[in-house]
Subunit: 119 residues, 2 copies
Amino acid sequence: MGNLYRFVEPVLLYLVKRKGRAYGYELANDLRAHALTDAEIEVASLYRALRQLEVNGCVTSEWDVEGSGPARRVYVLTAHGEEHLREWIVVLDHLSRSMKRFIRGARSVVSGAGRGADE
Amino acid sequence: MGNLYRFVEPVLLYLVKRKGRAYGYELANDLRAHALTDAEIEVASLYRALRQLEVNGCVTSEWDVEGSGPARRVYVLTAHGEEHLREWIVVLDHLSRSMKRFIRGARSVVSGAGRGADE
DNA sequence: ACTCAATAGATGCAACTTGCATATATAGAC
DNA sequence: GTCTATATATGCAAGTTGCATCTATTGAGT
């Protein structure tokens, strides 16, 4: 298809909130399971997204040197981050309703837009 | 909020299909009414999106010099454009379902994510 | 000891996209 | 003659993305 890309931000906020403490490498896997699109997640952009969330004050981070293997940058959601997630929920709710409406209209103008018997 | 931007492409394909013939300036208004987000639509990016759709073979255009005022570049949907719209419908259907699922999960981990008694 | 793979995070850069300002031109109203 | 609405387009700075690449730690295999 081409476009659609992210919505990575709200999913990250959600995952960090749910896990309490989370680090990038681990989130890459969780993201694949919870992503809103099946578009491949670039690890580089994931790490950058997390740093950006920190710059915006949505998460804080510190190095975790416990355990084996290389150090992990562990993120925790801030109050502001949770507020941001709440805003995302409202936006995505609105967006998914708009899409539903659009799909109904669009299906009526194109031929053979298979709708699959579900719903 | 910040992000979310477009989904301008599928709405343009839909509008051009529904109208049969359509030009940019006119579509700017229709877009405001049918857009999936309430984000402001940049006219410049609208014109560029239409030219891009033409490059991709989704629409064809020609100048309409009838009527008063400056000439209009009138667009018509191609078969490929209609196919592309059909693909968009599938993608958006999938996406809106994913969002619904995500919203349910996310609401359960944040406090006071007002869901509005509707639905 | 040496090598390899998995884990973990990050940067460099070219290519692309976006937002904003601006340019061009026609036509009707005043 | 000037102003506004209509109509399309470009230039450029700033931001974003995809891909390749780099660093480093640890454990397993030989």
